[in-house]
Subunit: 543 residues, 2 copies
Amino acid sequence: MAALRIAACQLNPTVGDIEGNVDSIVEQLHAQAAAGAQLVVFGELAISGYPPEDLLLKRAFTDACDGGLARVVAATRQHPGLVAVLGACEQVDALRRYNTAVFCRDGAIVARHRKRLLPNYAVFDEHRWFDEGDVAVPVVDVQGVRVAAVVCEDVWFKEGPVAEAANGGADLVVVVNGSPYVRGRLDDRVEICAARVREAGVPMVYVNQVGGQDELIFDGGSFALQADGSLAALGPQMVEYSTVIDFEDGQLRGDVAPRLSALDEVYDALVLATRDYVDKNGFNEVAVSLSGGIDSSLVSAIAVDALGADRVHVVALPSRYSSAGSVEDAEKLARNFGIDFSVIPIEPAHAAFLEMFVPHFEGRPPDLAEENLQSRIRGVVMMALSNKLGWAPILTCGNKSESAVGYSTLYGDTAGGFAVIRDVPKLLVYALARRRNERAGYDAIPAAVLEKAPSAELRPDQRDDQSLPPYEVLDPILEMYVEEDASVADIVAAGFDDATVRRVVQLVDRSEYKRRQTPLGPRITDKAFGRDRRVPITNRFTG
Amino acid sequence: MAALRIAACQLNPTVGDIEGNVDSIVEQLHAQAAAGAQLVVFGELAISGYPPEDLLLKRAFTDACDGGLARVVAATRQHPGLVAVLGACEQVDALRRYNTAVFCRDGAIVARHRKRLLPNYAVFDEHRWFDEGDVAVPVVDVQGVRVAAVVCEDVWFKEGPVAEAANGGADLVVVVNGSPYVRGRLDDRVEICAARVREAGVPMVYVNQVGGQDELIFDGGSFALQADGSLAALGPQMVEYSTVIDFEDGQLRGDVAPRLSALDEVYDALVLATRDYVDKNGFNEVAVSLSGGIDSSLVSAIAVDALGADRVHVVALPSRYSSAGSVEDAEKLARNFGIDFSVIPIEPAHAAFLEMFVPHFEGRPPDLAEENLQSRIRGVVMMALSNKLGWAPILTCGNKSESAVGYSTLYGDTAGGFAVIRDVPKLLVYALARRRNERAGYDAIPAAVLEKAPSAELRPDQRDDQSLPPYEVLDPILEMYVEEDASVADIVAAGFDDATVRRVVQLVDRSEYKRRQTPLGPRITDKAFGRDRRVPITNRFTG
């Protein structure tokens, strides 16, 4: 068997930007060929970006993707013998469509593998868009090395296409992926693939895409495994990168990038998601309603790390119930990060509304209506600034714990375009903020923000723990109920108070209508609210 | 072959209300048995209500459904020989779950059919929740008649389970369904089923559920077809009803309910959807922000027809730009329908906000920011009334044409819990309003509302046609682009102006983020915004 130089190109495509995505692919193809690569591998549906969702139902879209693929194929003509493998939508006729890995060489498509296993759980809807692959895994001779390609989910189950490729005589299997991030998923991928290569006795090169796409983050971290399952190469996480891997005498050899720590991985994923949402949607400057609390402080930090201080505006919107400390903390944070800071007291609108309501609210004591009013006034102000000054999107600051139990005001603090920490439980919010300060080497997020008791400050002396269990209790209950679909009985059996569990579960169930109207945000857990958890609003089951 | 009396019971279950659903089933079982029925047929997933979505992923839920099914099975003990057929979730083990039709007799389950064809397109995600049926279609002897049962999608394709049932010796096929409404779908169902029975040479009884469930409406209209495809019986649309059908000498015989006209069908579907959303979610009184325009007038009429005048509040929220005629028209409508009417001018809050914005907006001319501001103030007022007085949900009034092109203010007129006419194009809004007046026998919706030029009244002399093409042009473009996934080229080829088509398509694409944050509403077309159309927000493809 000859030696082979492989480039594993983890690119950051933009869904629907077919020309731009093809430009990047062709550019890498030329660059890697110039550096001696003979096999250049890209991600899943690399032409369209992954996942294009119902755009796939438009014939104009799949035709445009075909045009993009033709450009990549043509580019291989300049590098005789070089093989490019990439994912592309294959629209066969009006009825049949496949998620395909394409081998291109010398200006022609020389082989195709149609994805067999179509994930249709969690965030995936692939049976909606694709037919199951119905042809044998092809094995292509690349400079004397017999190479097979499969697609993403194809490697997740035993006795699947990887084993078939090995039985078909493959010396090497390449996997093209659009595998979305959740905490620790890279370890899962390596473990699963190690099992596959050990079963099949064939080494593997796994190429993932990178970048944010609506709710999904793709974390890169492409890798290569020897036939015994050991790690031969690893690309960096959260950035575009092409990892060069040499294959000789059945062994793979390449650089192993350092792994991010568990906290840095989440933080950097949120930064990537935020940057890509803003940039890919063509936005410029963003804004955050900065209360001086932990959530909006963390979101502001992420925004600065994603976009640079020049592109971030923060606004303090104190009401009659806001503490002086909150505005001071907000101002201090803005100064630390070097971002534009405004203060707009909401009292004039607040007073005007209360006066308007007098004839309608007469004789009724203050309650949630008056609390929500303040939050909604803030929403109106932020949206007016957004409309007038072009600050968009407004980044919202609700965390997963609040989102779960509905501890938020619809059209108030939830008003905006991107919910940066929507999938981050409150305890993790604290950990990320502390870690951000560690990385900065000082309290960029002021110590007071980390130390004070959480409060919405919508009535005098309000504190979160007047309405909710402490987050040390709430977060693990939510993890069991939301992420693990555990029942009340299961959670109580795990040691939590029955009444508390029932109250939390009821709050989660009753808040579904709110979550449906809040902006999307990046997924970092095993089950995020959004496309990952599809429960009815109209539902009387609880348990 | 003996004679057989069949009851086709189209019930209105509530998703997750297992006890309540089983109560209704058992009650019908006893009532129909008392009336001589020997075969009693219910809908798909009748225990849980359809579709229960990700509740199916909770073991506590499927266990509870099993408990509900056991109650139905036990109830058959009281009617020796009677067979009940109903849809139920069949959780076999941790990994396998089927959408099953169950035959119950004499206190036991005597046969099961596992749904073969799992729809995973449009609003359906059944591959997410179920495995494909893997056993032969059972044929059960019911008083000497050999009866087979299949489930919904099983009848939509040739050479499927219906043919198999006939080959297996069935004299009659029953179909349990949760088939959601769109305009004219009943005709489609009858046509498709007629093709199936003609192919298989076997008569059919088709039982659908009825009622609103989040975005979906189930329209009932259960029916029976002779083996030659001719209609033998038809249940009424949009109401709970049990149709009695006699089967003798291979012929079915029952009542044929009158069909609703095309307009009445849509109107009654919206009424049903609104009533069920409100009642099944445990709400009491609803509110509408009534502008005096056609959309909010129609929504108010639907609300009254759904809930009764006592449960509907309408509020006029005039700004400095509202015409006097608008408030008069609103008041007149409220008087005609006998509903509670309030006027809350928004000027005080409007003036307060404008003053607050002076330092921030200085030197910038009035634009969309000031227009949206008024709409958002109205949203704040409606939500405050909702929070304080318990008026919930707020019914929102955006139509499909506006929703498509983003002609709405997020957190303003879109603020609320149920978007009654979200899937109704503007021209159909007019037709439904005219028809409502026809049915009333007078202009309950004032004639002026139907006659004036559409306007948002957010600046002096504003009219919709300053921002949008006339609805006679816009609506057909939208139908092609949204419902048919036609390309710009296709639409231009159909005779529309190129620049207009491009502008409309761009507006649709750019408004996706707005639609994701608006309340759900009932689906009446072949492709509604919501679960029916899953396009990315981050997307650069247009065409």
